[in-house]
Assembly symmetry: C2
Homo-oligomer: 292 residues x 2
């Protein structure tokens, strides 16, 4: 069994991007520049945005952090996005979610120019993915594709079972794994809360992608010997041994399932660290004009 | 076994839309108006567009047929689309494909304002579908959903196997059948040319949607007793008994499969007639502003 190391793979991607920035600078090209918009003072959001800006600095990207008080109007926020859309120096822009209740997150997300939507949340970019066109794939799906690719996991003709149908993980993963590309070319089954006989289906899987948001949902009796298991879940479970009183765990019952797998992603340290690297990856695509 | 009558269902939709137009007129509202653009003189394209315009007249919609010589420039075509995008009287616009080689069909399709894209081909509308937002669903998938709905076929918790992954039928159907809605809430498996053990998978299906473009591909030994079979294929096969020398047949070996099914769509007369009605349906949504 190989434990897939997302932390190390993310680090590898950052190193590649650092070299790429050096190459761009040498050739007098445009260094990637990410703008991040943060509204309000939610501590978790602050930490996420801080990390994204720090990641940019680490690989040599330009970055702009735009902060607004929680009472900013939707119109003022839209005006700022329009200004960034028009700013040729900025290649990618993200708006940290959640937003205050008086702001419609759809209105904001959809106002970002798809060409700069490095989060890959704009319907135009999701549609381009479904049509098999070049696009920004959102962070978690892109992170999973990168793990499969960098561990050289064969996917063509395999049966991939995706558990969960969220529009940020399950649905895009089902589209991506069935497309005519690598990673892809899988027969794909998408399961969810309404699925009957879940174990009968997962037992057929060569590849399981668990993204249903329930701790220990995938147990050993649901997994075929030699399967590849990608665990997207990040669930809090009570754990008296931790100072915080809780531990993070995936959707997969790791200890029992790992014994049956050929590959498995741990939580934490599997898919999670890849999502930050994915944002850097998309920002490079934007700067190089490789999508639009 | 019930043979699903697409011709009659399409007629029923047209009648409902005719009544809706009468209601709109009575209330002094905006009567739907479709613009169709035809480039060149391909006989098949001429027939398709003529039928679409005739359909509009039949239900009481306004329609505009814009014809161009085959040597129109891409720029001139784009200019016309922009003019239609700005024309408040026109609710929906379609460009008949294929286009001459010197015109990029993607450029043209993507230039249509998504709000008027009643064919549902624009990436923004495909992405809205994948995100579960109100959208124009393209003709064939919408036609299939309407058949399932109007025949009151239960879909929740069923296993739907989609054969084929094209971006106009297979992929959107797999997304739609798994979404949290009716018709939908299925466990969905998408199969294609790279799928191994196809029959093992189709034998698990409560609902089969065949859209692989191969005559008689789905045979009786691949179908579970009582399954619902939707046949999207339109294949030409040689038939000496016909004046034209060929007959149209679906992806399903109808005679043998029909005996095992609870419901089946014939070819012709099943999904096919629904696609024209779907365009009228979307044009009504556009006129009423129910998507955007």
């Amino acid at each position: 069994m190989t434990s897939i190391d997302g932390k190390q793979t993310a680090q590898q991607i950052r190193e590649e991007l650092t070299l790429e920035v050096a190459r761009i600078k040498e050739q007098g090209g445009k260094v990637p520049h990410l703008a991040a918009i943060l509204v309000g003072n939610d501590p978790a959001s602050e930490a996420y945005v801080r990390n994204k800006v720090k990641d940019c600095e680490q690989v040599g990207y330009g970055s702009t952090l735009v902060r607004f008080a929680p009472d900013i109007t939707q119109a003022a926020l839209l005006a700022k996005i329009e200004e960034i859309n028009q700013d040729d120096d900025i290649d990618g822009v993200i708006v940290q979610l959640p937003l205050p209740d008086h702001i419609n997150p759809e209105k904001i997300t959809f106002a970002i120019d798809p060409k700069k939507d490095v989060d890959g949340f704009h319907p135009t970019n999701v549609g381009r993915m479904a049509k098999g066109l070049p696009t920004y794939i959102s962070a978690t799906p892109l992170g999973i594709l990168q793990l499969l690719e960098r561990y050289k996991i064969e996917t063509a003709g395999k049966h991939c079972v995706v558990i969960g149908r969220s529009d940020i993980v399950g649905t895009p993963m089902s589209i991506l794994m069935s497309r005519k590309a690598y990673p892809g070319n899988c027969t794909v089954t998408i399961c969810h809360s309404r699925t009957q006989n879940m174990a009968t289906i997962t037992l057929q899987a060569d590849i399981i992608i668990a993204a249903i948001g329930k701790a220990h949902f995938v147990t050993a009796d649901m997994v075929k010997e030699g399967a590849i298991v990608i665990d997207v879940g990040i669930n809090r479970v009570e754990d008296a041994s931790k100072k915080s009183g809780f531990a993070l765990t995936g959707d997969v019952d790791f200890d029992s399932v790992a014994e049956k797998c050929s590959y498995i992603t741990p939580v934490p340290g599997g898919v999670g660290p890849m999502t930050r690297a994915a944002l850097l990856y998309n920002t490079m695509l934007a700067a190089k004009g490789e999508v639009y």
